[in-house]
Amino acid sequence: MPQKLPIKRLETIANDIREDIITMLEHAGSGHSAGPLGLADIFTALYFDVLKHDPKNPDWEERDILLLSNGHCVPVRYATMAHAGYFPKKELLTLRKLGSRLQGHPERLKLPGMETTSGPLGCGLSQACGMALGLRMDNKMRRQVYVVMGDGELDEGNVWEAAMLASKYQLNNITAIIDRNNIQIDGPTESVMPLGDLKAKWQAFGWHVLEVDGNDMEAIIDACTMAKAVTEKPVMIIAYTIPGKGVDFMENDFHWHGAPPNHEQAVKALHELRTLGGKIRGEHE
C-alpha cells in the first residue's frame, strides 16, 4: 500500500491520465472518449488512494476488487493501471491492436489485474454480488468489492435484478459508483430513456446512496471512505461527472461518447490538458 498522496498530486496524475487517454485513442483510431475522460478523477482516486492493491502482485489474495461494468470506458482503467505500475506506459499505444493485451473492451484473461471481462452492459453489479457473497461466506470482509457503472447502462434490467439481490443480502462489502454523466450513444440519457430521480430509485431498492461531484478528487475519496462505514446496506455513490472533462470541445457533447479524436483534435486536446485550459504554459509548448 503506497503512502497517501496529497490531493494536488492526485489531480496532476488524473490530468496525465487524461493526456494518455487522448494519445491512446488517437493512436487506436477508434474507441470512446467522453466517458474515460470524465472518469479520470474517479480512477485516480481508486488506484492511488482508495483501493487495497499491489501492482506487482495483481492476484494478491487480500486485494480489493474493482469491476468496470461499463467496459467501453476501459481506456481510463488501462491508463491508470499503467501509471500505477501494472505495466509499462508505452504499452498503452497498443490499445485495440492485433495481439495487444489492451483489448477494445477489457478481457480478464489477457491482462493481469483486470478482474473481469466486460463490455456488454448491465453485468458488473451482479458479478460484484456474487463476489461479495462468496467473500462473506469465507469471512473475508476486509476485502471490498468496487464496481464502476455507467448511467446509460442502468437501462439494462440485469442491473435492477442485482440491485434487489444486493439489498436482500445486505451486501455492505459492495461499493458501487455510477458515472452520472447524462450521455449515452443515442443522446442525453433523459431523452434516450429517462432515469429520473436516481437517488430515490436506489434508495427505494434498499441502498444507501451518496451523491458526489465525480470530478472532485477529495469528494470522491471522502465518499469511498464514508461508504465503508455503512454496515447495513450496499452503498451506491452517484458521481456526477462531466463527459469529456478537461477537453473543452468534448465536454458535455454526446457525440464524443463513442468517437476518438483525429490527429488535429488530439493536438488541440493535449494542448488544453497540458496548459490546464490555458491557465499555465505547457512544458511541451
Partner: protein, 324 residues
C-alpha cells in the same frame, strides 16, 4: 440381445426423474467440497436444489425470478474461488441469459455450473414455451463450454460430482419426467466420453439424455427385424468423443442420431459436422425437425413428434437401406 455389458434392460426397470440424481449429486458434492455453492431462480424444489439448501443453507442463494442475475452472480462467486451450481428451467437459463453466459462465464472463463432443468419435449402439458429444445445448440456453440446430458438419475448424480471437479464452465441438461434407470452405480461416467451400451454391426444409434432409453428399445425392435444396432450413448455433447463415435460408424456404415431437442445445432448437428468432415456416412437425425412443441402427455408428444422407439426403428431401416 448380445453384448449388453454397460446397462441393464432386463426385467422391469425402475424410473426416476433425472433431476433427482442431480439433487443427490449436488448434496454429495457439497459434502465433499466446502467451496461448492448453489443459487436458484425461484425453482429450488423443481430443480432439486432443495436437498443442498437444507444441508447447507449458508451456501445457498435465492436470486428470485431473475435468470440474467442468476448466471452473473455465479460468475462472481466463481471469481472468488467458489464452485457455483446455478439452476432454473432450461427455457429460462440458458434460454434467456445467453449473452451473460457468453461474456461473464465463457469468455471470462469462470467455472460456473449451469443446470437447465425441465428441458425437452417431455415437460409435456406446460406447452411450447416451457419445452426447451434449443439449449444444446445454444450452449454447444460457445467456446470453453462443456455440455452434458445424462440419460438417467444415476448418471446425473455421477455427472454432477464430476462437474464439481471440472475447472471449465459446464452446462447440465435435465428432464422433469420419470425416466427409466438404465445405468447402475458401476456404469462408467467421465466427462468427454461416449459409451457403447449395445454392440451391433449394422447401424449405429447415437443418442443422448432421455432418448438413450428409446434408442435401446429401438435396438430391441431392430434385432427382431434382423438388424443389429449398436447403441452409443453420448452424455457429453461437447467436447464430443469423436474416437468412440468414428470407431462405431466405421464398423456399421450407417447412423441415426436421437435427441429430445432441435436436430439443428443439437446432437444431430454435432454428429453431422463430425461425419461430414471425417467419415461421410448415410445418416438420419431423429429429434425436433425445426418446429416448436405443444401441450400434451410426454409419451403422446414423443410419438406425435416422431421421437419414440418406433420412429428410431424406421429411421434405422432408411439408413441401412441407403448403404446397399
Amino acid at each position: 440381445m448380445s453384448n449388453m455389458h454397460l446397462v441393464n434392460l432386463n426385467g422391469k426397470l425402475e424410473s426416476e426423474s433425472i433431476r433427482k440424481g442431480f439433487g443427490r449429486g449436488l448434496k454429495k458434492a457439497g459434502e465433499l467440497d466446502a467451496n461448492v455453492v448453489a443459487a436458484c431462480a425461484d425453482l429450488t424444489d423443481s430443480t432439486q436444489m432443495s436437498l443442498f439448501k437444507a444441508a447447507f443453507p449458508e451456501r445457498f442463494i435465492e436470486v428470485g425470478v431473475a435468470e440474467q442475475n442468476l448466471v452473473t452472480v455465479g460468475a462472481g462467486l466463481a471469481a472468488v474461488g467458489k464452485i457455483p451450481f446455478v439452476s432454473s428451467y432450461a427455457a429460462f437459463s440458458p434460454g434467456r441469459n445467453w449473452e451473460q453466459i457468453r461474456t461473464t462465464i465463457c469468455l471470462n472463463d469462470r467455472p460456473v455450473k449451469i443446470v437447465g432443468s425441465h428441458a425437452g419435449l417431455s415437460v409435456g402439458p406446460d406447452g411450447a414455451t416451457h419445452q426447451m429444445l434449443e439449449d444444446i445448440a445454444l450452449m454447444r456453440v460457445l467456446p470453453n463450454m462443456v455440455v452434458i446430458v445424462p440419460c438417467d438419475a444415476v448418471e446425473a448424480e455421477k455427472a454432477t460430482l464430476a462437474m464439481a471437479k471440472d475447472a471449465r464452465p459446464n452446462y447440465l441438461r435435465l428432464a422433469r419426467e420419470a425416466t427409466p434407470i438404465i445405468t447402475t452405480d458401476k456404469t462408467p461416467f467421465e466427462i468427454g466420453k461416449a459409451y457403447v451400451l449395445e454392440a451391433g454391426a449394422d447401424v449405429t444409434l447415437i443418442a443422448t439424455g432421455t432418448m438413450t432409453y428409446q434408442a435401446l428399445k429401438a435396438a430391441e425392435l431392430l434385432f427382431k427385424d434382423g438388424i443389429e444396432a449398436e447403441v452409443v450413448h453420448v452424455p457429453t455433447i461437447k467436447p464430443l468423443d469423436a474416437e468412440t463415435i468414428l470407431k462405431s460408424v466405421r464398423k456399421t456404415g450407417a447412423v441415426v442420431t436421437v435427441e429430445e431437442g432441435q436436430i439443428i445445432g443439437g446432437l444431430g448437428g454435432a454428429i453431422a459436422e463430425l461425419l461430414a468432415e471425417q467419415l461421410p456416412t448415410p445418416m438420419q437425425r431423429v429429434g425436433m425437425q425445426d418446429h416448436f412443441g405443444e401441450s400434451g402427455a410426454p409419451d403422446e408428444l414423443l410419438t406425435h413428434f416422431g421421437l419414440d422407439a418406433k420412429h428410431i426403428r424406421l429411421a434405422a431401416h432408411h439408413v441401412t437401406d441407403r448403404k446397399k
